[in-house]
């Protein structure tokens, strides 16, 4: 029983990380039809920014952790908005060029990060509580999982509130459904594009800082490794569906944890099989809409 509890909560923690990356991917695809392969770079840069702040301020205080999370969000948002404004904006409806540019950017930024911070993992320090455990129904659960879950829930609620209660949110919801009709109502939908990229980048930047604590290190490949699963989560959840991304994040991460523990480390294989099954049975994903 304690193993099940441990795997469930650890899975939720990992799912929280997937959601932080996948939420931005899903919104960006839903509104703009852009598959952003550079999204992992926003995460990695957020993680490095958080680590740089942490090592300067002393990484063991909660104040430093919160500041590094905020910095990760700001850096992620700024870089994502700049990417949209400088590179993607010229390429809307040119999908092959979008893929080439975002893949190129992802490769170039990883090389840049390796040039700046080296290729080896850099271990992070955190408030001591995060490296301790809490006993729940006999399972000793690492405390950092609670941080991941809490942060992801806050981000989910924040994005939902933004989408539901602000005019930009209204524009984004409408734009996901019918972009040209939003334009035909006199709305410059490009501003919403930039805002969505910034929101996605902020979530990814926060995810980067949290991922560095989940894995215990930051490295130039951090974003790339999480991006693969975030894409899988986005497709399983349904491209453009925030709720779908949240559900799929949890399902994928828990499946991964259980398969790794009970079926000899086959977590990644099971996730890919799940993706194949979903694509065969329900090609639009769990909550995706038909084209």
């Amino acid at each position: 029983m304690s193993t099940i509890i441990l795997l469930l909560i650890t899975g939720l923690g990992l799912g929280a990380l997937y959601f932080l990356v996948a939420s931005g991917l899903s919104l960006i695809y839903g509104l703009m039809g852009v598959l952003n392969f550079a999204h992992g770079s926003f995460l990695t840069l957020g993680a490095f920014a958080g680590w740089e702040l942490s090592r300067r301020m002393g990484g063991e205080s909660w104040g430093t952790l919160i500041a590094s999370m905020l910095l990760g969000m700001v850096v992620g948002a700024a870089v994502a908005a700049a990417t949209e404004f400088l590179l993607i904006r010229r390429l809307y409806n040119r999908h092959i060029e979008q893929v080439l540019v975002t893949v190129g950017l992802a490769l170039a930024t990883v090389a840049l990060f390796e040039g700046i911070w080296g290729t080896d993992p850099i271990y992070v320090t955190a408030p001591p509580w995060l490296s301790q455990t809490t006993e729940i129904l006999g399972a000793r659960v690492p405390n950092d999982r609670f941080l991941m879950i809490g942060a992801a829930v806050l981000v989910l609620l924040g994005i939902v509130a933004f989408l539901r209660y602000t005019r930009f949110g209204l524009i984004i919801r409408a734009g996901v459904e019918n972009r040209s009709m939003v334009t035909a109502l006199g709305i410059d939908v490009r501003k919403a594009f930039t805002v969505v990229f910034a929101i996605g980048g902020a979530a990814a930047g926060l995810g980067g800082v949290l991922a560095s604590h989940y894995f215990g290190y930051v490295s130039p490949q951090l974003g790339g490794s999480l991006l693969i699963f975030a894409f899988i989560v986005t497709v399983i959840g349904g491209l453009g569906s925030l709720a779908g991304a949240a559900i799929a994040s949890v399902v994928v991460a828990i499946l991964q944890q259980f398969a790794n523990y009970f079926w000899g480390g086959t977590g990644d294989l099971m996730v890919v099989l799940l993706l194949a099954v979903v694509l065969l049975v329900r090609p639009t994903g769990i909550l995706g809409k038909k084209a």
Binding site: R167, E177, S180, M181, V182, G186, I187
Partner: protein, 235 residues
């Protein structure tokens, strides 16, 4: 320029448009009255909808489009709308996952939207303000689509087949709403239902093969059975 402002609210000159490389509008030129309803007619597939979409900048186009004397053909769609062009698309295109009220809020460009006019014309929509637009009937969705255009003060309305697929009773409701709207803003109307055209239109422009083949009085056109049959295929 001055004459254009006083004589025509919308001028289209040498308009060409294409969709995925295929030409759908060819050298179309016409002027639209600054009052009342101008009907844009023609058989199926002659380019009426494409002409409206080209004016709105929703498809690739060339040629001149002037609104109240100002060239807009190099401007993006949202700027054209902000100049006071209301657009009611074919097939309504309401946002199904938004409520009726959210559809209207999204369309509001001014700080003082014409909510009162909407309440007068479409009281049913006010009662259904919190309902998802995707769950409305076709007629109610058409009301939402019209209301989105009427909620702002526009210089001109482009309305594309507003009665398409609607029950006869609803057709008359829509026609009456348009008649009321046309008292305050000129309307360019694409419409297949000639009864509605007879009821509303002062002027008619007929397209054939993407070109204008008739530009004159709607009454004269529809009063001439042979001409109507020749140009529109129906009488």
């Amino acid at each position: 320029m001055t004459n254009s402002v006083t004589e025509s609210i919308l001028t289209v000159a040498g308009l060409n448009a294409s969709i995925e490389g295929q030409q759908v509008v060819e050298d179309v030129s016409f002027e639209m009255l600054p009052v009342g309803v101008t009907a844009l007619l023609g058989r199926n597939g002659v380019g009426k909808t494409s002409t409206l979409r080209a004016i709105m900048g929703l498809i690739e186009r060339s040629g001149e489009v002037t609104i109240a004397g100002e060239r807009v053909d190099r401007e993006p769609t949202h700027r054209i709308v902000q100049r006071g062009v209301g657009y009611v698309p074919e097939d309504r295109e309401v946002f199904a996952s938004l409520t009726v009220n959210e559809n209207l809020r999204l369309a509001e460009r001014d700080s003082t939207p014409n909510r009162q006019l909407i309440e007068e014309l479409f009281p049913d929509l006010i009662a259904r303000a919190g309902q998802l637009a995707g769950t409305l009937s076709g007629g109610q969705q058409q009301m939402v689509s019209l209301a989105r255009a009427l909620v702002n003060d526009n210089r001109v309305l482009l309305v594309d087949e507003p009665t398409k697929g609607l029950a006869p009773l609803i057709v008359m409701d829509v026609a009456k709403a348009l008649e009321r709207a046309a008292q305050t803003v000129p309307v360019l109307l694409v419409e297949q239902n000639l009864q509605v055209v007879r009821m509303l239109a002062d002027k008619a422009i007929v397209l054939e093969g993407g070109r204008v083949v008739y530009d004159g009085s709607a009454e004269e056109l529809l009063g001439n059975e042979a001409l109507t049959k020749e140009l529109l295929g129906v009488a």
